[in-house]
Amino acid sequence: MTEKTRTILAAVSVPMRLYMGVVFIMASLYKIYEPYLFGLSVATYQMAPLELINIFAIVLPWVELFVGIAFIVGFWTRANGALIVAMMLMFLVALSWALSHDLQMSCGCFASQETADEIGIHTIFRDLAWLVLALFPTVFDDGRFGLDGLLNKRNLKKVTS
């Protein structure tokens, strides 16, 4: 892959990073504010054992928040992208499980069970689209249009001087 191609791919991934970063920050806020309600959302999937639900409800929102911020600013871009991809895969498995068991519920992604829309095949397609938007920067963005790029330039200057 030429340097020019890398630059183009990194540039194309910038709006994807910004979009997915905002999505993850927005998704984390209500969960951080209302961990119990998020725990209730997790429990509604009837997938995770009781012992893991609260640990998940306490930790996951903060991972989402920091990953979202780092993805926007382009810090450790690929690592954060990989985490977003992993989380999207996890959400897709959970959604598929819920749909296959005919559970009538919201996904618990952005708001509590009471206020959010019910899950359906459209939720799966939305998450698949988000998975692609996260996968692209993970594979093709070396972070040159972000903090990673600035840090690399600084390190390069230090080495050459």
Binding site: G39, I53, N54, A57, W62, W76
Partner: protein, 163 residues
Amino acid sequence: MSWKLIRKITIQAVIIVVFSTAVAVGVNALRPEPLDWVAAVPYEIFVDCPESLKTANEISPKEALGAKVLFVDARDGETFKAAHIKEAFNVPYDPLFPVEEAVVANLRSQRVEFLVVYGDDQFGKMLADELASAGLARVRFVAGGMQALKEAGADVETQEVGQ
């Protein structure tokens, strides 16, 4: 992607998760009401109401009293204890929860002509429909419930017997 890059990405991802966990632990500890790390009691999740696929037929109080039947009382436990049809079996009905399989199995094993369900309201009919949907044969319900059976001359018990 080279193995070196994959290793670097993995290490960075672990650092991010560890850092996030540390913040999560700190913030949770500082909350006025921190969430327990392990829930003490199961979450009360909302489940779909059980749907009745079959409908139980009605039986008149007189017909019920003249046959070999098992009366099934759909009312709550306290009301049942206060007064119920003699030798009735109490299955407190809650439309949000399906009748336990053990209860259905117990009713299925009864050697009677009819299972006659009664209550004080529509719950008697709803329980009868659910039992019929669960595969029990010859389930009937009494319109008018306990009062109608009493007026037809059914014996009533007022002690904690019959279950």
